[in-house]
Amino acid sequence: MRKTATALSLILTGFAATAAYAENFDLVIANGRVMDPETGFDQVANVGVNNGVITAITTDAIEGARTIDATGHVVAPGFIDGHVHVVDSPFGQKAALRDGLTTALDLESGAYPVDLWYDNLDGTSQLNYGATVSGAAARTFTFDPLYVSDKGNIIPDVFAGKVTSFDWSTRIVTDEERAKVFDVVEEGLKRGALGIGMPVGYMINGTTTIDMIGMQKLAAEYNSFTHIHTRFSSQAPPASAMLGFMEIMDPASTYGGGTIIAHFTGQALGVTEPAMEYVDDVNDAGAAVQLEMYPYNFGSAGTGISADYLQIDNLTRNMGRTYEDIIDTQTGETLTKETYEKYLREEPHRPVMFYHVTEEDMYKALSNPEVIIGCDCFPASDPETGALVTDWDTPWDKANTHPRGSGTRGIMLRLQREGKIDLTLMQAISKMSYQWAAFLEEHGVEQMARKGRLQVGADADITVFDPETVTDNSTLELGKNALPTTGIPYVIVNGTVVVDDSVVQRVFPGKPIRNPIIE
C-alpha cells in the first residue's frame, strides 16, 4: 500500500516539473522500464537528466542533447558496492563499470592515510569512490611507524612487500599501542573516512576482543559503522563464525552504531541459515547489523595462502574443506598437500581461491531480501608474471582473479532471471543499490541519501540493462576470470555516460563519497 502511494507522488511530481520545461535536458533515457527499489516505482517512463541530477521521470515525451533509447531495458539506480578492493585500480574500475557499478567503496580493508587515498583518486576516478579508515593499516603503522603506503590501500602494499612483518596480523597491542591504534583510527574518521574497516579475520591472533569493542564504541560515537571481516570462517566450535559475529554484534547492541558483516556465508558456512535467523532477532531487538555476501561459493584469500582461515586445522576441521578445495589463482590448478605446504613456506602471499559455503546455502542466503551484495572485488594478477595488474588497457583475458570482480552484478541478475534465487527483480536490484545507500545514510554518510534511487532529485547514477540477456561471463577457467558482464549497455555516473553501447569511455566523472572533515 505504501509503495503505491509513494510511486504515484513521484510520477506526479515528475509530470508537473516537465510540464514547465520540456526541451532542455542534457540527457534523456527514453522508454525504459524505470525501477526504483525505495518507492517500488516500476513502469515504462522517460528519465531526464540535467547537470548530473535526475530532474524528470515522466511518460511525457522529453528531449535532450543526448537521448538513449532504453526500449526493452531496465533503467535502474546505478549499483553500489561497499566491498571493493580495486577502487584505485583502473582495470578494476573498468570491469566494475561493465558490471553496472557506479559507486565503489572499500569499507572492509579501508584506507590509510585517508587523505592519500582520496587524493590519489581525485579527478581520476570513473565511478564514485570512498573508504573507511583501515584498522589493519592503523595496526601496521603503529607497529612500524616507517610504513609508507603507496596509495593508502594496504592490500597492494602487502603484495608489494611494503609491509615487512606479520606483526599487523599476529602481535597483541600493549596499552600504549592500543591507544595509538585508536588515535590513528579516530584521526581517519575526522578526515572524512566513512566508518571503520576491521578485517579481524586476518588478524585473529593479534586482535583482542577489547580492540573490537573499542572499534564499535568509537564508530557509535561518530554515528558511524564498522565493516568487519569477522574472526572465524568456521562452522564448528569452539572458534565458530557465530562467535565471530557476536564479537561485533554485542558491542553494536551495547553502544550502537551500525556494523556490516562481510561475506557472511564464507564465514558461517553450514550455519548460514541459523546465522540469518539470529541476526534478524538481534536487529529486531534494536541493533543495526547488516549481512553482506557475494554470489559465489568460493572465496579469494585477501593475503594469499597464509590467511589465518586457510591454515590446515581450520580448513579441515572448521570449514569442512581440504587441500583440493583451494585453487591456485595463478595456474588455475587445485592444490595438493605438497603444493599447499610448498607455497605456504615459500610464497605466503601467493593468491589462492577456496571453496567455502555450499551452493544450496549460498542460494538461501542470496534469496534473503535483507542480505546485501558486496563483491569483495579483488586485485587481478598477470598470468605470466603474477604481478598485480591495474592498467586500464589490460586485455580481459590477461587478468587472473576471482570472477566476482567482473561478474557479481551480472550473475545476480542472471540467477534471478533463471529462478535459482527466490527474489523479484526489484529485490535483486535493491540489494545492489538502495539497501547499501540506506544503511550508509542511516550511519552518517549523508551523500548516500541521493544515491541508490531512481527518483527526481537523485544523483544521475544510472545502470541500463537488458533483463532478458544480462549475464556474467567471468568464470574460474583461466583466461576467463575477468571477462566482463554483457547486457549492460549503458552506465551513467553523475550524468556522464561512462559505459556507452557497452564500451567504457575514458571519462572520469566519479566523485568522492566522503564525510565532512572535522577540524
Binding site: 509513494t6 504515484l8 507522488s9 508537473a16 542534457d26 531526464g48 541530477v53 571519462v507
Partner: protein, 515 residues
C-alpha cells in the same frame, strides 16, 4: 609522468565541467549567502536551476537564461507551512510574499480531498496539498451536510453550525463510527496526507472514535495532526490533551504533528515541549509547532471560550478583541455575542512572550502560521465573507496578522534574538517540517533543503531588513512582509522583485489515489 597525467586529467575534468555549466541553466541565483539547514552549508555561492531542480551549487561563475543577483541576500529553501488555512489565491499571495512555497492546511484538512486538489489544479502558484478533515467526515455523517473541498470555506460548515452542529455537540455513539471511518478512508484513498484532528473545536468527540480513525492513518502509512482538546493551563489542560493524542499516536504507531503548543499549553508550554522531546528521544516521530504571536484567532462560541475561561486561560474578557474592529470585549458584550452572533471572529491575547520564546529557542519545534481565511468587509464593516481574489489589495483582508507575517517575523526575531541563529530559525520553517513528513510523503524529501537535487523551491531574503508588516489593526492585518524580493517555486520565479506572479508553478503534494 604519473603526476602530469593526473594534472592533465584534472584539467580535462574541470574543462568538461565548465562546458556543462556553459550549456546554461534555466535560472542562476548569483552571489547569495546559500544556507542549507540539513547540512549546515552556509557560504556565498551561486545556485543553478534546471527543469525545476537545483542542479548546481558552486563558487564557479554560472550562466543562465535568467540571472538573479542575490548579493547581500540569503538564499534559503522555500518555507514550508503546515498550518495555512488561507487556501485562496489571496491567502497564497500573502504566503508567497512571506517566503512560503508550500502552504498546507494540515490542522483542519479538506473534505472531500479530491475536490481540494481539483480546486488548485492548474492555477496554484505555490505547492498545495492537504490531509483528511476528520471534522469534515463528522459534518457529512452527523449533520448531513456536504463540504466542497476547502473545508473552512464550505457553506456546509455554516449550515451545520446553524442547524444543531451535531459534529461538535453530539456525544460519542459507537453506532456512528462505521460511517465516519468509511468517510475518512475515502479521503485517504484520494491521496490525503493523513488525518487532521482539530478536536479542540469539537471536544465532545469520543477518544475511541479518534483511536479507531487513526488506525486508518496507520493503514495508509500517513501521519495525524491535532489541535488538541483543551485550551487551559489547569485541568483539563492542554497538557492532558497532548497526552491523549500521544497515546493514540503511539498505539497506532503513526507520526503526529501537534499544532500551536503555546496556544493550548499556555503556562505549561515548557512541560508540553519537554513531553514531546522525550517522546521523540524514545523514537516517536512527533513534532510540536508554534506561531510567533501573543494573540490567537478564535470565534465566540468555540468550546474553550465558554464561561469560566478566566480561570482556565488566565485572561479577562478585555483580552478578547473583535477581529473586525479591534475593539476589546466586555463581559456583557461577550454574553450578548454568545446568544446573538456565536460565529463572530475574535482575537484573544492569551500567550505571554515567554511561552513563545520557549518554543522559538527550542530546536525541533516547527513554525506553523495558522493563517486564517481572509475576511472581506464592506465599507460599513459588515462581513462579506471569504471573497478576496488575487487582485484584492494588500491590507483589505481582515484576520490574524500571522497569515501575512509569520515567517518574516521569525526572521526578524532571529535577527533580534541572540539565542537563535539564523540557520536554526530557517530550519524551523524548512528542513524540520520536511523531515517530519518525508518518510510518508517523498515529495518532501527534496524540499526544505537547498542542495543539488532539491526541488527548486527557494526563498531569497535580505537578512538585515526582512520584516513583517501585518498588525492587529484593521487595515494592516494583511500587509505583506518586505525584504523577500524573490521566491522561486519549482524553478519558476513566483515572487519577482517583490511582485507575485500568477503563474501555475505549484505542484500537488499528494499521496496515492487508490481506485
Amino acid at each position: 609522468m604519473k603526476k602530469t597525467a593526473t594534472a592533465l586529467t584534472l584539467i580535462l575534468t574541470a574543462l568538461s565541467a565548465t562546458a556543462a555549466h556553459a550549456q546554461g541553466f534555466d535560472i542562476v541565483i548569483n552571489n547569495g549567502r546559500v544556507m542549507d539547514p540539513e547540512t549546515g552549508f552556509d557560504q556565498i555561492a551561486n545556485v543553478g536551476i534546471n527543469n525545476g531542480f537545483v542542479t548546481e551549487i558552486s563558487t564557479d561563475d554560472l550562466e543562465g537564461a535568467r540571472v538573479i543577483d542575490a548579493t547581500g541576500h540569503v538564499v534559503a529553501p522555500g518555507f514550508i507551512d503546515y498550518h495555512s488555512h488561507a487556501q485562496s489565491e489571496y491567502g497564497h499571495k500573502l504566503y508567497a510574499r512571506d517566503g512560503v512555497t508550500t502552504p498546507m492546511d494540515l490542522e483542519v484538512g479538506a473534505y472531500p480531498v479530491a475536490d481540494f486538489y481539483e480546486f488548485w489544479e492548474g492555477k496554484a502558484f505555490l505547492n498545495y496539498g492537504t490531509n483528511a478533515a476528520h471534522v469534515g467526515a463528522r459534518v457529512a455523517v452527523l449533520d448531513g451536510q456536504e463540504p466542497d473541498g476547502r473545508f473552512i470555506y464550505s457553506p456546509a460548515v455554516g449550515a451545520a453550525m446553524n442547524d444543531g452542529a451535531q459534529f461538535k455537540t453530539k456525544t460519542f455513539d459507537p453506532m456512528d463510527e462505521p460511517a465516519i471511518l468509511s468517510a475518512v478512508e475515502a479521503q485517504l484513498k484520494q491521496g490525503a496526507l493523513g488525518v487532521a484532528y482539530p478536536i479542540g473545536y469539537y471536544t465532545v468527540v469520543g477518544s475511541p472514535e479518534v483511536m479507531a480513525v487513526t488506525g486508518l492513518a496507520a493503514k495508509y502509512d500517513m501521519p495525524i495532526t491535532t489541535h488538541v482538546r483543551y485550551l487551559a493551563q489547569v485541568p483539563p489542560s492542554g497538557f492532558m490533551g497532548i497526552t491523549e493524542m500521544m497515546t493514540i499516536a503511539r498505539e497506532n504507531d503513526v507520526s503526529m504533528l501537534i499544532h500551536h503548543i503555546p496556544s493550548n499549553c499556555l503556562g505549561l508550554t515548557k512541560q508540553c515541549l519537554d513531553l514531546i522531546d522525550s517522546a521523540r528521544a524514545n523514537g516517536m516521530n512527533v513534532r510540536g509547532e508554534f506561531y510567533p504571536y501573543q494573540y490567537a484567532g478564535t470565534y465566540v462560541d468555540a468550546d474553550y471560550n465558554a464561561p469560566g475561561f478566566e480561570e482556565r486561560m488566565g485572561i479577562q474578557a478585555s483580552d478578547y478583541k473583535l477581529a473586525a474592529t479591534g475593539e476589546a470585549l466586555t463581559n456583557e458584550e461577550f454574553d450578548r455575542l454568545r446568544t446573538e452572533a456565536p460565529t463572530t471572529d475574535l482575537l484573544m491575547y492569551t500567550m505571554k512572550q515567554e511561552y513563545i520564546d520557549e518554543a522559538f529557542t527550542r530546536p525541533g519545534v516547527i513554525v506553523g502560521s495558522d493563517g486564517m481565511p481572509w475576511i472581506i468587509t464592506d465599507d460599513d464593516g459588515n462581513k462579506l465573507g471569504f471573497t478576496a481574489t488575487f487582485d484584492t489589495p494588500y491590507g483589505a483582508g481582515n484576520g490574524h496578522a500571522r497569515g501575512a507575517g509569520t515567517h518574516a517575523r521569525i526572521l526578524r526575531m532571529a535577527r533580534e534574538n541572540d539565542n537563535v541563529t539564523l540557520m536554526q530559525a530557517i530550519s524551523k520553517m524548512t528542513y524540520e517540517p520536511a523531515e517530519f513528513l518525508e518518510d510518508h510523503v517523498p515529495a518532501m524529501r527534496i524540499r526544505g533543503r537547498l542542495q543539488e537535487g532539491s526541488a527548486a523551491d527557494i526563498t531569497i531574503f535580505d537578512p538585515e531588513n526582512v520584516t513583517d508588516n501585518s498588525t492587529p489593526t484593521i487595515g494592516e492585518n494583511s500587509l505583506p512582509s518586505t525584504g523577500i524580493p524573490y521566491v522561486i517555486v519549482n524553478g519558476q520565479v513566483v515572487v519577482d522583485d517583490s511582485v507575485v506572479q500568477n503563474i501555475p508553478a505549484g505542484v500537488p503534494i499528494r499521496g496515492s489515489i487508490i481506485e
